[in-house]
């Protein structure tokens, strides 16, 4: 029975992340509009978009298979699981030990595989193009992310995200050069995996320049709504993973309910700056040619490996 508060908190955190994710996307879009000297849409626009999509009739190609129709739900489920593992507000998550950082990368990989398979399902050239490019980005981004997380794991001696956060947040303040490398690599992976400039333009409508968008060309209505929502949750999850690894101060300890309001405020401030930073990066950089993307990502991978090595070599 002592588990009940923890389980209730876990469910509440998952629901919070799922409901708050579109706001983050709205905030990033607002910042980008301001930087580009345009007037911004409402920060709640993603919610209106989702509601609009849910109301519509789903239009599906005639030769769609059951895999195509299941995928949006599976993607949403995977992202929900990811949202439940990351210590966003506190480290008291009874289900967090069910999946550690390696399983987290595995969840994202599962989502990517299903998304690519659904893209190939209809049998148009755009689907194949999207699937091929999505896996091209994925095959380098996934190891880079894993190596970044391993660096944090080596420093804290554990692969549980909650333990990593507790160790990094509550140790005496120390500068870890390996985490600096890992942070740069993580930023590059975040940009790649969430289909941001410089890898992919999330607002493009030219099919030949799409990477992530090309995999969801055939989806409409509630399926598209679920996929868009899952994408927003993925961005939120990545940002909170980055905050948990590199800026973990303010996350409440296990069982410390009084620290929750502070944790919430600190999280909001961090995400404010993170979203603005993302918009700034997107505005300053230009989209890379497609075959420079593997170079970008292999640099991220090698930086992450270097970070891991630096941990061993500098600590003596």
């Amino acid at each position: 029975m002592t588990y009940l508060p923890g389980i209730a908190f876990q469910i509440l955190q998952s629901v919070f992340v799922v409901l708050a994710a579109p706001v983050l996307v709205g905030w990033v879009n607002q910042c980008r509009a301001w930087l580009q000297n345009r007037s911004a849409p409402s920060i709640l626009l993603p919610y209106y978009t989702l509601a609009k999509l849910f109301h519509k009739d789903a239009v599906i190609a005639q030769n769609a298979s059951p895999l195509f129709r299941i995928t949006p739900y599976v993607l949403f489920g995977c992202m929900w699981l990811a949202a439940g593992i990351v210590p966003v507000l506190a480290t008291d998550l009874p289900f967090a030990p069910a999946a550690d950082i390696i399983a987290l990368v595995g969840v994202f990989a599962l989502a990517r595989v299903f998304s690519a398979l659904a893209a190939m399902d209809i049998g148009t050239s755009f689907g194949g193009l999207g699937a091929r490019r999505e896996m091209l980005i994925g095959f380098l981004a996934e190891p880079a992310m894993l190596m970044t997380l391993f660096t944090a794991a080596f420093i804290s001696g554990s692969t549980q995200l909650t333990t990593i956060v507790e160790t990094l947040a509550h140790r005496e303040f120390a500068i870890y050069p390996s985490l600096a490398f890992a942070a740069v690599a993580f930023l590059m992976v975040l940009l790649a995996e969430n289909a941001r400039i410089p890898i992919d333009n999330p607002t493009t409508h030219l099919e030949l320049t799409m990477i992530h968008e090309a995999t969801i060309l055939e989806y409409s209505a509630r399926h598209l709504a679920l996929i868009e929502w899952a994408t927003a949750i993925k961005l939120f999850a990545y940002m909170t993973i980055g905050i948990a690894l590199f800026l973990p101060w303010g996350i409440a300890e296990a069982g410390d309910w009084a620290a929750l309001p502070l944790a919430f405020t600190v999280l909001a401030v961090k995400l404010l700056f993170a979203g603005a930073g993302l918009a700034l990066i997107e505005t300053l950089l230009a989209k890379l040619r497609l075959f420079l993307a593997p170079e970008f990502l292999s640099t991220a991978f090698l930086l992450a490996v270097l970070g891991m090595l630096t941990h061993f070599l500098i600590r003596g």
Binding site: I175, A180, V184, V305, L309
Partner: protein
């Protein structure tokens, strides 16, 4: 293993130096290379300042000032003027592709650390692990010199090597005598000017700064 603040700052700057060395390996544009070299100079100066502050050796302050003057201001300015007058193109080709270069770079870094491990046991606690990084920067700069095709990045690689040696000196032995430093600095400055003169000659002779043209000079 808690380290003092000073050694942590020096470690951080050392890691920054290594990051810059790798960044120079992976960069294509010459302008960015010059900027990265300037940042290396900043990192060096900051680390010299830190060592000076925490060990109280005043001649290191002058050393840091010299570094800033020379490596952050003068040499990048000279290089900028050089590439302006040579109308050097921005994208630089390499002999082997960039991911492969970075892989070799990682191998060199491991090798440098393995080499420096027994020596750093004897160094003081303040700067134990930085010798390995310094050696790694030297080797990486050397690698950069080998894989580039144009002459200007090769010069930058040579200067980056000197950066690495300087860092090794300040980290392991708290700097060289000021006289030696002044002499080395003068050598580097003169060397840069001479390189510049050579570039003009090469350009006149071959109409390009691609070093493969110089292979025609060998006896057949």
């Amino acid at each position: 293993m808690s380290q003092t603040l000073s050694s942590q700052i020096v470690n951080l700057l050392a890691a920054f130096l290594l990051l810059l060395a790798f960044a120079m390996l992976s960069q294509r544009r010459i302008l960015t290379l010059i900027r990265l070299f300037a940042w290396q100079g900043v990192a060096l100066a900051l680390s010299t300042l830190t060592v000076a502050h925490f060990t109280g050796q005043t001649h290191l302050y002058y050393s840091a000032a010299l570094t800033v003057l020379l490596k952050v201001i003068m040499i990048p300015w000279v290089l900028h003027r050089l590439i302006d007058r040579l109308h050097v193109r921005w994208d630089v080709e390499t002999l082997i592709n960039i991911p492969a270069t970075m892989l070799i770079g990682i191998g060199l870094a491991i090798f440098a650390f393995a080499l420096a491990a027994p020596i750093s046991q004897m160094a003081s606690a303040l700067t134990r692990s930085t010798l390995g990084i310094a050696l790694a920067s030297v080797l990486l700069a050397f690698l950069m010199m080998i894989v580039r095709r144009k002459a200007v990045p090769q010069v930058i690689g040579f200067l980056a090597m000197e950066n690495g040696l300087f860092f090794a000196a300040t980290s392991a032995t708290y700097g060289m005598p000021l006289v030696v430093e002044l002499g080395v600095a003068l050598d580097v400055l003169v060397g840069t000017f001479i390189f510049g003169i050579f570039f003009f000659h090469i350009r006149e002779q071959f109409d390009s700064l691609d070093i493969r043209h110089m292979e025609k000079l060998k006896e057949d």
